[in-house]
């Protein structure tokens, strides 16, 4: 099959999204007032360490001032990568056609 792998990967991503939606409904139903699920695992580990009484000995010298600025920078990071991938693959494809 010509696009067998693409179909398999797409199916996998759909299953992944479906599991998320299903779990999200279950988790939201069990959340108390003011609680929020789907936090980052990095932060959860930091919380676990702080719960033992440890204080980080140094703070980041700069942190994004809000969630919006943080998501801007994350989107920028992804965009930089995507532009490079698209450029190189497009270049290869076009030079193959003209060769």
């Amino acid at each position: 099959m010509k696009h067998g792998m693409e179909i398999a990967v797409a199916a996998l991503i759909i299953v992944f999204a479906a599991v998320f939606l299903f779990q999200d409904a279950a988790i939201r139903a069990s959340l108390g007032e003011g609680e929020e699920a789907w936090g980052g695992a990095d932060g959860a580990a930091a919380d676990l360490i702080e719960a033992s009484g440890y204080e980080p000995w140094i703070e980041p010298f700069w942190a994004p001032p809000s969630g919006e600025v943080e998501s801007l920078l994350f989107a920028l990071q992804a965009a930089i990568g995507a532009v490079i991938i698209g450029y190189v693959f497009g270049y290869w494809r076009a030079s193959r056609k003209t060769a």
Binding site: V19, A41, A75, I85, V88
Partner: protein, 230 residues
Amino acid sequence: MHIMEGFLPSPWWQVWFLVSLPFIIIGLYQINKLVQEKREALPLLAVAGAFVFVLSSLKLPSFNGSCSHPTGTGLGAVLFGPCIAAVLGLIVLVFQAVFLAHGGITTLGANVFSMGIAGPAVAYLIYKVGTRAGANTYATVFVAAALADLATYVVTSVQLALAFPGTAGFLGAFSAFAAIFAVTQVPLAIIEGAVIMLVFKYIVQLKPEILTRLNLLSESTIKKLQEAAA
């Protein structure tokens, strides 16, 4: 897998810097050699680095109510080996530590080791063993990339458990950290493996001569793979 700024006490942050340093030096040396001897592979190196940029910026929700991100280092590791992958990981981790307060400067050594060295080393070994054993190339890439992702998070758990054994001891602390990191990561690792497998297929289709130049695949294997996709 990011250990946040200040969350590794002395001597651990220095230890991980020292452990990671030789890999970075060898990686820079190898990139230098690549630039001089195999210039045509440079766009592929850019793609491998760009892949780490994209995948490590995507925080995906897992099944257990928390989010984590894939690493994307499996591709660079399979193509160029773990030392060059370490340099790619370092670039991304510096970007995230400086601009996003994600990870940190003092924990950079530990984060480079888990994401840039340990994970890629696993991917590299699996790819080498798999291709030598004659396993399906795409299946090998899938397993290599997925286990590289998972290994990164297992190593982060080890690093934190070493620094914070608490009252439970190393093993108790390890299972607590692994419950946060590694369990969340299992579905993300599978997705990452699948995506990298797909990208590898496109490289085989578009630029197979680079793969033979890097001694990754023989011409006969590439022919077989291309015929299967046609």
